[in-house]
């Protein structure tokens, strides 16, 4: 089972991102689960969401404390939240930033993947909403879900031109982190 923790701020769509990963993993014929860290939602406040992907039905319902992957939508959370808390050393943390990994001064043994998702989102979507762009980065950096399934999940949520723009942003981020 792979466990993913999302960090964002209220209104940035962290919960939607977790849901879309769960839908994409299901498209990949896997079992999945996504849920928010339940709270009183306030725009701008730090929020978390969680997703699990597995080959077997998922029974556990606790929050995720030792994630395989962490996705950070907003780099300003670095000063507010212990983003790498519990992250497995062999895991990855994917951060939306225009800085390089070593400039972030993040204490973790896990690999730090950086992507300037805000720039990509502004360019492709015309708005600094990075949740879908970060899914492209997750997909490229981890391979835990296929790009086809992410795209399918996106089109299930956003129709028409908005859907296509999101796919473009996702593809750019995917290529930006793929090696």
């Amino acid at each position: 089972m792979k466990e993913i923790r999302f960090h964002g701020r209220g209104g940035q769509g962290a919960v939607t991102a977790a849901e879309l990963i769960a839908i994409a993993a299901f498209e990949d014929k896997k079992y999945s689960q996504a849920f928010p860290a339940f709270g009183v939602e306030r725009r701008g406040a730090p929020v978390m969401a969680f997703a699990r992907i597995a080959d077997e039905p998922i029974r556990i319902r606790s929050q995720i404390y030792e994630p395989d992957y962490v996705i950070v939508q907003d780099v300003t959370l670095l000063d507010v939240v212990d983003l790498a808390s519990g992250l497995k050393p062999e895991g990855k943390i994917i951060i939306n930033t225009d800085k390089s990994a070593k400039d972030l001064l993040l204490k973790t043994k896990a690999e730090i993947v950086t992507i300037d998702a805000t720039r990509i989102a502004l360019e492709k979507l015309g708005r600094p909403i990075v949740n879908t762009t970060m899914l492209g980065a997750f997909c490229g950096a981890t391979g835990e879900v296929s790009l086809e399934s992410i795209n399918k999940a996106i089109l299930g949520r956003f129709s028409g031109a908005l859907g296509e723009k999101n796919l473009d942003a996702i593809k750019t981020a995917y290529k930006g982190v793929s090696r």
Partner: protein, 392 residues
């Protein structure tokens, strides 16, 4: 059809498949997306029913009394303070023998103000004459919806029922679920055709005044119907499995109970996490098993005795406290054994209050505590688990 959807949406769709004639809800906090999706179904023409927005939970259930007594299949959903506000009406519904089905989304009761999950709300109305069945996951909550209509509407039962599902943990989770097929539900659950309804052509009185010479008899008949529901719950659960291919045991279900020395007893969404913990512990050689309580009312005393008779120690895990005594489930569990020859030590834990997260490490700690009873006897019969040291 299997899809990944939010738990609340899945429940709304299950309700839609049961074709209620009247849905009456208070749409404002505390409420869930269940009723929001139902109102969308009605607006989109996917559900043909009378959908009533009322000004309080007291009114939502009261208006369903009127609808149900006129012969309608009825539905509502609420949670926490909303259920508390219904308290008086709950007894009216069960006393009038109306087969209303409600999804009770389990959330804590204020104060302090908390919007998160525990089961204090439904445990607090356990004596109100409603059947209460607790769902482990979204799929079970879906499947319970037509099952409970079938049980409640049976002429031999005519008792209202609650699908109890943990708030947020199940209502807000996205996970793959099998949707019910509307046609199959229609076959499984025939239309509600009550023998007695309000009808101007054939006037009757419901919920009438009963003086002391008759009140006891009403309660006796109500009690007997609840007793009959035991067999009905088991029967409908089997029937559901035959038609839909998903089985749930009966009033209880068991997990890894063969040769279990330490037996955990719990209900609701924590069951999944407990099963994971049991798999871990079993791989380490710890003989631990689980009895999952599905039906809390009627309480499965005989089933529990049979399932737990060979255990060396029993520990209940519950999300409520009966202030002034202990956990309500613990009391019920001990009561089931008292007049039997089984003298197994029973302890209990209150956990997950007001949304406190319960992980595998917590379950392991409770199993450790239970195993200590085997060596040292009972040191503490009831414990509020995971309290911060500064409060101890």
């Amino acid at each position: 059809m299997r899809r990944v959807v939010e738990g609340s949406y899945a429940i709304a769709d299950a309700v839609r498949c049961c074709s209620p004639d009247v849905v009456s809800v208070y749409p404002i906090t505390p409420q869930t997306h269940i009723v929001e999706h139902l109102s969308e179904f009605v607006a989109d023409g996917k559900l043909d029913c009378e959908y009533i927005n009322v000004e309080s939970e007291f009114s939502s259930l009261s208006s369903l009394i009127g609808a149900s007594v006129a012969g309608a299949r009825t539905y509502t959903s609420t949670t926490s303070q909303g259920l508390a506000l219904m308290f008086e009406v709950l007894y009216n519904v069960s006393g009038m023998r109306l087969p209303i089905v409600m999804t009770t989304v389990n959330r804590s009761l204020s104060a302090p103000l908390s919007i998160w999950n525990d089961q204090q709300d439904s445990l607090g109305v356990r004596d109100s004459g409603w059947i209460q069945i607790y769902a482990e996951n979204v799929q079970e909550a879906i499947d319970l919806t037509p099952m409970l209509y079938k049980i409640s509407e049976d002429p031999q039962i005519l008792t209202p029922s609650m699908v109890c599902m943990d708030g947020f943990i199940l209502t807000h989770v996205y996970e793959p679920v099998d949707f019910l097929d509307e046609e199959m539900v229609r076959e499984f659950l025939p239309p509600y055709r009550p023998e007695h309804i309000l009808d101007p052509e054939n006037p009757k009185t419901f919920g009438a005044f009963a003086d002391p010479s008759w009140f006891t008899e009403f309660k006796y008949l109500q009690y007997q119907a609840m007793e009959r529901s035991r067999e009905k719950i088991a029967e409908v659960t089997r029937e559901f499995e035959e038609v839909f291919g998903r089985g749930y045991g009966g009033l209880i279900d068991t997990y890894a109970m063969d040769d279990a020395e330490i037996a955990l007893v719990t209900m609701g969404s924590i069951v999944g996490t407990v099963k994971e913990a049991i798999d871990d512990l079993r791989s380490e050689g710890v003989k631990v098993g689980l009895v999952k309580i599905r039906s809390y009312r009627p309480f499965p005393g005989d089933e529990l005795k049979r399932a737990l008779k060979d255990a060396s120690v029993i520990a209940s895990i519950e999300k409520d406290i009966s202030m002034g005594y202990e956990g309500a489930l613990l009391t019920d569990l001990k009561g089931a054994f008292y007049n039997s020859s089984i003298r197994t030590p029973i302890i209990g834990f209150a956990v997950g209050l007001g949304g406190r997260d319960i992980g595998i490490k917590h379950v392991r700690a409770m199993v450790e505590r239970a195993s200590r009873v085997l060596d040292a006897g009972i040191e503490s019969e009831f414990e509020i688990f995971d309290v911060k040291p500064e409060c101890l």
